[in-house]
Amino acid sequence: MDFRKKLRYRIIASAILLIIGIVLNILSAVDVIKSEFFGILGFTFIFVGALRIIKTYKSMTDEERCKQEKIKETDERNLKIWGDASRFTLSGYGILVFIAVVVCEILGKSLIADVLSVSLCALFAVYLIFIVILSKKY
């Protein structure tokens, strides 16, 4: 995909995030949503969305910056680092959740243990689905 097109999609996605943040904040302010959580979530969305729009817009308008950004995002060493980091994070997360399930069972917190077990199984199922999809792709 053309990098500029990718940047345009990124601006649209960030704008959607920003709008969701504003809507969440309005709903929270007029007490349609009672939970404080959604108000904070809205602020986070506004902050992240605005920041990404500014950053992406700067890259789109400045040719040199756009080129540097493209190199940074397509650099094969960076891609390997990001891929490896994701892999290690996922493995670490899986192990931690498994330990948490065992600890919760020992402590008699069966409900938490069940929720964690299901999330771990779901994670593994998604992993297997991606293995199948990527095996067909390559």
């Binding site: 190199i71 940074k72 650099d75 094969e76 060493r77 960076n78 390997k80």
Partner: protein, 86 residues
């Protein structure tokens, strides 16, 4: 002594299933008198990737190896030396 240790560390890092890949990027870069930054820009990677390639911490993909070989006007075999473990 220090050089021997560094060479051993590099060889260990580059080893991949008993085989290892060495490269002459630094030598060819000096012959052509180009900076790491210029080379990075020419082959569309970051300067850090060139540093990692030269120090042997990272092995280039076939596409990058091809781009580098074209840039230096040599073959991939001349730029990258594949050594099988004895």
């Amino acid at each position: 002594m220090y050089n021997v240790i560094i060479a051993n560390v590099k060889q260990t890092l580059q080893k991949n299933g008993g085989d290892y890949l060495n490269n002459k990027i630094k030598e060819y870069r000096r012959i052509k008198d180009v900076t790491q930054d210029d080379l990075a820009k020419a082959v569309d990677v970051t300067r850090q990737t060139i540093i990692s390639l030269e120090s042997g911490r990272y092995n280039a993909s076939l596409i990058l190896a091809h781009k580098l070989a074209v840039f230096f006007g040599v073959t991939i075999e001349e730029l990258f030396i594949f050594e099988e473990e004895q």
